[in-house]
């Protein structure tokens, strides 16, 4: 009971440590020891060995056994790396963040050089007539992540799908940030009637539930990468207007802006030289989180069949195509699903950290 007593009435300092969710080093899951190598080496060896056995040796065994073994091996690897990282770089080492960054780098690079990779056919059905359909994932075969019901390679589909998701997600955020940021700074700096009009417009844009607004837009647009990007950009412009306006309001009252104005500086110079450098960082730090939201939005549209169409693979339309026979062939849904989840998770994780680092105001919206 002593433990719960201290938990309910905790001193303020300890409370802060508990509220901020990610405090590496204080994790009760990770044992602390004076000789980390004694723990790290066996954990890493066990992890690698477990993975090798699960993927290469037990190829004929039950899928559940292999999945469980692989999961345990990954956990051992994670704990080993985490203890090693904490021992080398100190308690603030955040393995999850580094893994997220690594995953994003992997996805972005493979999407960029997809055409150069030795991938099996993933788009053209007429070229896969000789390929066995519905092959299970087998990491050391021609189709590492299996094939779908038309013999198309899933790894290839996932990588080309990453291209679509990233272009749409990042492109829409860049457009939204540029347009929304400009309008927001102007509204926050000039105030007056401009601000009122902008406020009413953003309020009405935000009055639509996002998915509904998106459906309304794709109803009248042809589903192509360009149009979906524009629709998603329109979706996040109001968010960016609010964000940059709120940040501008903070700085427009400050002395250095007043000084610039007193010296007779032009509005344009004040905005670009005094305000923009201050507003940019907190606004940009939100971009990762918004990319995550937009990737989910695009995948949802694809899943509903309202975004980029087959034969061009996207994560959403691969999942939609796989759901018909995923009772017997779960990899059709879960492979693209896992890639989508990991990417969104990584963007969220990096975004959280970016906001901690760059958004000193903690986003009072």
């Amino acid at each position: 009971m002593a433990e719960s007593d201290t938990a309910v009435v905790t001193p303020p300092g300890a409370e802060n440590a508990a509220v901020t969710a990610v405090v590496p080093g204080a994790d009760p899951l990770v044992p602390t020891t004076r000789h980390p190598a004694l723990l790290v080496v066996p954990l890493l060896v066990a992890g690698v060995a477990g993975l090798l056995v699960a993927t290469m040796v037990l190829t004929d065994a039950n899928a559940v056994v292999r999945l469980v073994l692989g999961g345990v091996a990954l956990l051992a690897l994670y704990l080993g790396l985490r203890i090693a990282g904490t021992a080398i770089w100190g308690p603030r080492f955040d393995l999850g963040l580094w893994l997220s960054l690594g995953w994003l780098a992997l996805v972005i690079v493979s999407a960029a050089i997809a055409d150069l990779l030795p991938l099996a056919e993933s788009k053209n059905v007429s070229k896969t007539l000789g390929t066995p359909t519905l092959q299970r994932p087998d990491l050391f075969s021609e189709h590492p992540l299996g094939t779908d019901n038309q013999g198309l390679d899933i790894l290839g589909g996932v990588i080309y799908g990453a291209r679509v998701s990233l272009i749409i997600g990042i492109g829409a955020v860049l457009i939204g940030m540029t347009v929304g940021g400009t309008i927001g700074i102007a509204a926050g700096y000039f105030r007056g009637k401009l601000e009122t009009v902008v406020n009413v417009l953003t309020d009405s844009m935000l009055a639509f539930p996002p998915l509904i607004l998106l459906l309304g837009m794709v109803a009248v647009l042809e589903p192509s990468v360009r149009n979906v990007t524009i629709a998603l950009a329109l979706l996040n412009i109001p968010t960016y207007i609010r964000l940059s306006r709120a940040n501008t309001l903070v700085y427009a009252q400050r002395e250095f802006v007043l000084a610039a104005r007193a010296l007779g500086d032009r509005n344009r110079n004040i905005i670009f030289r005094e305000l923009l450098p201050n507003v940019l960082l907190p606004v940009v730090s939100f971009a990762f989180l918004i990319v995550a939201v937009l990737i989910v939005a695009e995948a949802s549209l694809s899943f509903l069949g309202l975004s980029v169409q087959r034969p061009n693979p996207t994560w959403g339309n691969m999942i939609a195509a796989g759901q018909d026979n995923f009772d017997d062939h779960p990899h059709l849904v879960f492979v693209p699903g896992a890639v989508l989840f990991l990417t969104v998770f990584a963007f969220n994780r990096v975004g959280d950290r970016a906001r901690e680092l760059w958004d000193t105001r903690q986003a009072k919206l």
């Binding site: 009971m1 433990e3 719960s4 007593d5 938990a7 309910v8 009435v9 905790t10 303020p12 300890a14 409370e15 440590a17 508990a18 509220v19 969710a21 204080a26 994790d27 009760p28 899951l29 009413v200 417009l201 309020d203 009405s204 009055a207 639509f208 539930p209 996002p210 998915l211 509904i212 607004l213 459906l215 309304g216 794709v218 109803a219 009248v220 042809e222 995550a292 989910v296 995948a299 949802s300 899943f303 509903l304 069949g305 309202l306 959403g316 999942i319 759901q323 995923f326 009772d327 779960p330 849904v333 699903g337 989508l340 989840f341 969104v344 998770f345 969220n348 994780r349």
Partner: protein
């Protein structure tokens, strides 16, 4: 207070006006001739002219807008373009109950998951359980709802035995964890009737828990992969709940993760207050402090977020309705988009947007009613 509500309502008018304008001009934005899009390439000139007249394309835009607004305000949404031709208001009347039921059920389920978990976790911040649930919630937020739905289908429908055993084992683990401190705590009572009563009560509670678990394990319900059974249908409430359970759970899981994180951090803050210290000093049991003293003042931001979620859930139910093939507003709209039945889409968008705006305004007003601190402030 009256002034606050008045300001809110005044603010609603331009927003609703712009919403109506936007949905009206959705039809105008269709590239090319709408009549051609609607009737297809094989229609005759007369048919095109007929459709144009029906859409009023031969009249000025302003006049059409005013007419349309008048019709919409009186509940006349027009007819769908394609056979089976129906009054759009009839379609909505059939489909709205389904969407509303899923939305309301998912809010209830999310609260049932989020509140107890937040209470347990917030009473011991920093514990292993706290870290695991926080990490789990962070993961759940990154799962798109259609993926969550397919995962639930896979396990609850296709691999039902796995879920059954997991529920049984998790329940046994929970009972064991709750019962573990009982012998130690019993030793703190003096020998006599008090100790006997405490031990009997604990054992009876554990047995009831066991009975519920075994009963659930033996009669674990089969959930349908898709389809919907109305309450008013032949099979009654039981079938209705069975077909609505998985769709509602899909939406609830993700909302529950957000709500749990929110309520947890608010609760941790409240538990630092002096009156909680006073209650502890009086010797109040922990559960009583959590439920009676801490929960209510910690729930303001949760209430706001739940209100905002109603609109988001209406949107999210589109996807869930598609996965589970439910006859709701969402399926209607997706069919409308793929079939280019713009009037159906237009009405659906307008309806949900207006609903969303009004709900948000009500939440804003009720928030200031619930929390006296912001009652005097300007909106």
């Amino acid at each position: 207070m009256v002034r606050t509500i008045g300001l809110k309502l005044a603010h609603l008018v331009p927003v609703l006006f712009l919403v109506s304008l936007a949905t009206f001009f959705m039809l105008e934005l269709i590239p090319g001739d709408p009549a051609f899009t609607i009737a297809g390439p094989d229609a005759t000139q007369e048919q095109y002219a007929e459709i144009r007249r029906e859409l009023g394309l031969d009249r000025p835009v302003v006049e059409r807008y005013v007419d349309w607004l008048g019709d919409t305000l009186t509940g006349n949404f027009g007819r769908s373009f394609f056979p089976p031709e129906q009054e759009v208001s009839t379609m909505i009347g059939q489909r709205l109950p389904v969407t509303l039921q899923i939305t309301i059920m998912s809010i209830g389920m999310a609260l049932l998951i989020a509140i107890p978990m937040a209470l347990v976790v917030a009473s011991r911040p920093g514990s292993i359980l706290d870290r695991l649930t926080t990490a789990g919630a962070f993961g759940a937020i990154s799962v798109p709802s259609f993926l969550a739905g397919l995962l639930l289908i896979f396990f609850f429908v296709f691999r039902q035995d796995v879920v059954r055993w997991v529920v049984l084992l998790a329940g046994l683990g929970l009972i064991a964890a709750l019962m573990a401190p009982v012998p130690g705590k019993a030793a703190t009572y003096p020998p006599g009737p008090h100790r006997r009563r405490y031990v009997t009560r604990s054992v009876v509670l554990a047995l009831i828990g066991l009975a519920v678990l075994v009963g659930l394990f033996l009669t674990f319900p089969d959930f349908p992969r898709q389809g919907f059974s109305r309450i008013t249908g032949d099979d009654g409430l039981r079938e209705n709940l069975r077909s609505a359970f998985l769709p509602a759970l899909t939406l609830a899981v993700i909302e529950a993760a957000v709500w749990m994180r929110l309520l947890r951090s608010d609760l941790i803050g409240t538990l630092q207050e002096d009156y909680v210290l006073a209650a502890r000093a009086k010797g109040m049991p922990r559960w009583r402090i959590l439920l009676k003293d801490a929960l209510r003042p910690s729930s303001f931001s949760l209430i706001t977020v739940v209100g905002v979620s109603i609109g988001r859930l209406l949107g999210g139910s589109i996807i869930v309705e598609r996965i589970f093939n439910l006859p709701g507003i969402g399926t209607m709209m997706v069919q409308g988009i793929t079939g280019k039945d713009f009037r159906v889409v237009q009405t659906g968008v307008l309806l949900i947007a207006v609903f969303y705006v009004v709900v948000n305004a009500v939440i804003d007003v009720s928030y200031s009613y619930l929390d006296p601190r912001i009652r005097r402030g300007r909106v």
